[in-house]
Symmetry: C2
Subunit: 739 residues, 2 copies
């Protein structure tokens, strides 16, 4: 019995041991996470709060103060010094790497010994009036050297002389009206146009196409003057002596005019100047309204329609030339600006991704300024600086984002987005495969009213989610979210009850990333009330009066608005870099495509007879959009049941989300614009600043009106519809389960 | 004491239980693989053996027999029937999905009621000789309908009449020699050239550029006749009545001439014929040497140099026109061939990848044939069929590859690679992001000597490794590997002691995948002894004599050669789809780039004076190649210590390997050839069949000789060098650790 007992005890023992062992084994097996990456789940939101809270108005003020003391035009010593300072501080903040990346691009400067100006000359050739050679320097900056006088960068050299013709804003439609309705030919004449409404390069192109031998652009108070606001320094309006600088290229995304398509490195082949992309062939010069008065007040010819009249205190006339008493007087432009291949420097900083170092989220904005850059771009650069500082703080606390973050301080944006475009060209192969998103950081403020966001539709949801977690910077809105504050001020009423988000146009550094490479992109800034404030951009835009003080005194005394912008830009970057599942929405894209397709079809319907005659149909496009809509809905439904613990499955859907924007790229480019390759979004051919949807179809429809061969023109419309339909179908295919 | 004992026992118990539990837990923890994907490690080699052994000569014989019974020209009923049969059988073999993918492309057929032929006409316009309207039908096929008579697809229609001029092979250099040395102008004349050396479309283009109003191509026995071999059916030489069909387009990779850049779907916009890509503007017609004798024998004019003389039993003369007695005779072409938009069908089968369904390995070859396609393409299609069958067997045994495999039976290859190119256009966005490699499967045999492989350098190592695991198919080589057999017969002596691997040119369906999209690609077939067998391709190429019997009787009676080709093509696909780490070598690419750079620099050095005068240097290119070499060496070194258990790290390096080929793509394309975008490899501008390295530099150097403006021509050389250097630098960047 005792023996039996022992046996039983032994059996019991063995069973117990075995059971316990297996119990342990099984618990051990299941206790172990399928994949260690899971620990990163939902961590992003925790860090988001910390990150947003780290950003400080006073810090932004300091950054802005630091980087606006001296003029830092692209290609100058001072702009290199700021680059080095930024590099050093970013390193100090704790980035994993920071490097200077130089390129040698074509820039353009006034000739120091032969200033540019415009004269009125009498019949003997004597200059009876000359425009000013510089702007009155704002107080406190009297001793500052190297303030570049107002000029049009890349103007042709020359001293054309002739009669003036006034062409309103110099838009395509203004020249049409001038030629067709007023019967005035500008060939061999000098046109004078007011700044505003469209990109100045388009004005210059229009003037060239019309045959003008020179073009003068002036800031009319009607366009650069807010009501009940004093001119700087007593307010933020443009003084009469203030002038808007700016480049007058028509690059269409080419970057450096001499090296289109390739980075401007030491070994890179350069075209001759005459083969350069987008360089105007006529002299161009900008003036303020004090000078404009002198040129305009004696003009003769027809009285223009009211919408051509600005707010200079003269009676506007079309010309050509001056009235009776001044008939023998001509206008002469004296332009000696030089094009010059010059070294520029981007600063590129990186935080290496912990799990997916080969996925890039880019935050880029330019550093070069026409003068001090108080608003453009340093209000944006200060914000980037604060974002980098805050990210560094998180890094020090042990955080590291899932994906790599790239911070860029671009150079020579003012000369045609050159720094950002050359870097995009240099890194195109990497970016195509690896870039998740590009967030742009130009001027962070252009008004005092509310937030403004332009982005690809797939970012809409993220922008809304994020702004709900950011506080309104407005006085009296404690406890109100930025989302609510923005929603209240700018509701997207036609389409949906949410704050308005607009299409991306161009005119800033996202261009090469979004429109050439097809990387999801967005930008955010504080803006004016578009409904009541009719002036273009902001009054002192590109003048010497863009100082630190104008921001501190008028635009954002508490620096809370800039902080809010920093939180939006930085928050987007953090969530894109650190979320396990990419916060991009194909659904929102489907929605937008539907609206764009409706709109473009309506536009075509203005020609019902031709639509029938040439058998033009939008059916293929509507059907493609429908297809995309179904595919995106199914895609997001599948996400609900995605096994996020499987790193390959996660990577696969993230790749689908990342590459969605890429699917809208046509390697053949838009007609005549090889570097604008996005089939859904591109700047209008008639105004670089404006984003157009289905630009290929839009442009071909625009051309209908001026075509000598309507059949051919409508064939091109049909071809563009077919390309758009194909592209949307192809994009839909990227959303279905692979294989 | 008893109580104490019990207590001790209890403690002992608890300790034991705890220890055991933890032991179990710990063992459980560590017993669990970090990632279940590890089980796939090294599995591929086991399955490789099974896969290779599954392939059977008799099966291949059966497949070939089945699919060569009836003519199956692209666009015909019979070719659709074969497509449906293939679809059904692939489904039966066990593929996950098989679909028919149609496109509507421009094809070209003879007019059934107005046959094409060439006449000699006397001074009264009477036809005193007409070329034959068809080839003598081989025995056993006498009752077969729908044998298309010999013609040049896409020939212009017309009945030009004029004097003949003989221009040898119709190469660029032949026309130069004719015009410069012999002083003969072909304007308004009809040229007659022999087939061979270059792609026939290039001959037609050269004739057009020279001003000819028609072109006749004939098969000279010197080029289509092997020594000591009887004409078919007693041997495999081309009978005198045999004629080479073929298209005469100059597409440069555009695919369907009416829809360049976009898939030819129902909704796709089509250009008018006059705007179609690559369509010849003059009549073209092919003849055999029995007919050629009649046209050539009375020709007058100069006696050509010896290397212009073929093996027709006449005295070759240049012309123009006939000798004395026949001076009044002219030659008239009667060409009524029609271009016609026609539906074609690709068959696409898939095996879904187990772990990375979003990575594609493609095996594609065409199905359409000029007549029976005994060699071209069905020897290749039979091999594909056997590969699919064998893969199906593995699937049934529970195997599933890591990545997705796509099998394609292309249509309308003979009409300009149309089926494969349209599908590439249709799926470009997916393929760009997801395609690992493309293996081509055109004719599997063109000779009886040894293996021939053309591939991207990154596949070299894999090809060598694989062929060491395949048996030689040659009699008397039992126990000898295919590698050894091949090495012995075709040693790559100039560069290395290994079997020769050549550059990819064009002329088959890999073109869009490799040269437009930048997907690593390769092809393999059995070939002749190039050193001793001087004829072009193989004698009966594109004639009615390409039958099942010619393969069975002469080329591969045992079908072991075709089996070996199946094992090479199939083995490549399996290893690319199933290896954990992609078997691609950046090192080999570096090696090849070095050789190509040397070679192109030497070519330029033929102009030492100009090189100095225009400051042409290859330094930037050499330095880029050096950079690439270091990067690839470091990359492969890092692979040694790669943690293959980490799925994200593995995916990251695999992505680097996959995208390496993509990095050589320039979206702007080669000059004048927007669909040839590979900076390292493209067909020569002067012969589509030949692969050229650094084609942009090569072409610009070629143009030097004929340029009216040497400075401009050398500037273009410099530009091309700079593009090549940039591209190689950029490719090197893709190999360094991301971020």
């Amino acid at each position: 019995m005792r023996k039996e007992n022992r046996l039983i005890q032994w059996i019991w023992w063995i069973v117990a041991v075995t059971v316990l062992f297996f119990l342990g084994f099984i618990i051990g097996w299941f206790a172990k996470p399928k994949h260690p990456h899971n620990v990163n789940d939902n961590a992003s939101s925790k860090y988001l709060r910390e990150f947003l809270d780290e950003m400080q108005p006073d810090q932004i003020r300091e950054h802005l103060r630091t980087f606006t003391r001296l003029p830092h035009l692209a290609g100058t010593e001072q702009n290199l010094k700021y680059a080095e300072q930024i590099k050093g501080e970013w390193q100090g903040f704790g980035l994993d790497s920071v490097e200077m990346v130089p390129y040698d691009v074509l820039l353009s400067y006034p000739n120091k010994s032969q200033p540019n100006y415009i004269s009125i000359v009498d019949q003997h050739g004597n200059e009876v009036f000359n425009t000013s050679l510089s702007e009155p320097v704002p107080e406190g900056y009297e001793d500052v050297a190297n303030i570049v006088p107002p000029y049009s960068a890349f103007s042709a050299q020359g001293q054309p002389e002739g009669d003036l013709v006034y062409v309103n804003y110099g838009r395509t439609e203004d020249f049409f009206q001038l030629q067709r309705e007023m019967g005035i030919n500008v060939t061999g004449r000098i046109v004078i146009v007011r700044y505003g409404k469209i990109f100045r390069g388009n004005k210059v192109k229009n003037a060239m196409l019309a045959g003008a031998k020179g073009i003068i652009m002036f800031s009319d108070p009607a366009d650069y003057w807010a009501s009940r606001v004093q001119p700087y320094p007593d307010g933020w309006n443009l003084p009469g002596g203030g002038v808007q600088r700016g480049n007058v290229l028509n690059l269409n995304g080419a970057g450096d005019p001499l090296t289109p398509g390739y980075p401007a490195k030491e070994y890179t082949h350069r075209f001759n100047l005459e083969d350069g992309v987008g360089l105007p062939k006529i002299p161009v010069h900008p003036i303020g309204f004090h000078d404009a008065v002198h040129l305009l007040r004696n003009m003769g010819g027809q009285i223009p329609p009211n919408n051509w009249k600005g707010a200079v205190n003269i009676s506007y006339r079309i010309g050509p030339g001056f009235i009776e008493d001044f008939k023998s007087q001509k206008v002469r432009m004296n332009i000696h600006t030089n094009n010059q291949v010059t070294r520029i420097y981007n600063v590129i900083g990186r935080i290496r991704g912990a799990l997916e170092p080969d996925r890039y989220v880019i935050l880029g904005g330019h550093r070069d300024a026409w003068v001090f850059g108080g608003i453009d771009p340093m209000s944006g650069a200060a914000v980037v600086h604060e974002i980098v500082r805050s990210a560094g703080r998180l890094l020090n606390k042990g955080w590291r984002p899932r994906r790599t973050i790239v911070f860029a301080s671009w150079d020579a944006e003012e000369f045609g987005l050159l720094g950002s475009t050359e870097w995009a060209e240099d890194n195109a192969k990497l970016l195509q495969e690896r870039a998740v998103a590009y967030i742009n950081a130009d001027s962070a403020i252009e008004g005092m009213y509310t937030l403004r966001v332009d982005c690809t539709p797939s970012l809409n949801t993220l922008v809304y989610d994020l702004t709900k977690q950011i506080a309104s910077p407005e006085d009296g809105e404690e406890g109100v979210s930025l989302y609510e504050s923005w929603h209240k001020r700018d509701n997207w009423t036609n389409d949906r009850d949410a704050p308005r988000i607009s299409k991306l146009g161009s005119g800033s550094d996202f261009e090469a990333y979004f429109i050439r490479l097809g990387i999801a992109a967005g930008r955010a800034r504080y803006t004016k009330n578009k409904k009541t404030e009719r002036y273009s951009s902001y009054p002192v835009y590109h003048s010497v009066y863009e100082t630190f003080e104008i921001v501190e005194r008028f635009y954002d005394p508490s620096f809370r608005r800039l902080r809010a912008v920093a939180q939006v830009r930085g928050g987007l970057v953090l969530l894109l870099a650190d979320s396990q599942l990419l916060p991009l929405s194909a659904d929102q894209y489907a929605d937008s495509l539907g609206k764009y397709a409706q709109r473009i079809a309506q536009l075509a319907q203005r020609h019902p007879k031709e639509m029938e005659m040439f058998k033009v149909s939008f059916e293929a496009l509507f059907s493609a959009v429908e297809n995309f809509t179904v595919a995106s809905r199914d895609f997001h439904e599948r996400l609900q049941t995605l096994n996020r613990a499987d790193p390959l499955q996660l990577r696969m859907v993230n790749d689908q989300l990342m590459y969605l924007e890429r699917a809208f790229i046509d390697p053949l480019g838009l007609p005549g614009r090889p570097f604008y390759r996005h089939v859904i979004f591109a700047p209008s051919s008639h105004n670089k600043y404006a984003g157009e949807s289905f630009p290929g179809i839009f442009d071909s429809l625009f051309d209908i009106e001026n075509s000598a061969d309507p059949q051919k023109a409508w064939e091109e419309v049909k071809r563009q519809i077919s390309i758009a339909a194909f592209t949307v179908h192809a994009a839909a295919m990227t959303l279905i389960p692979p294989a």
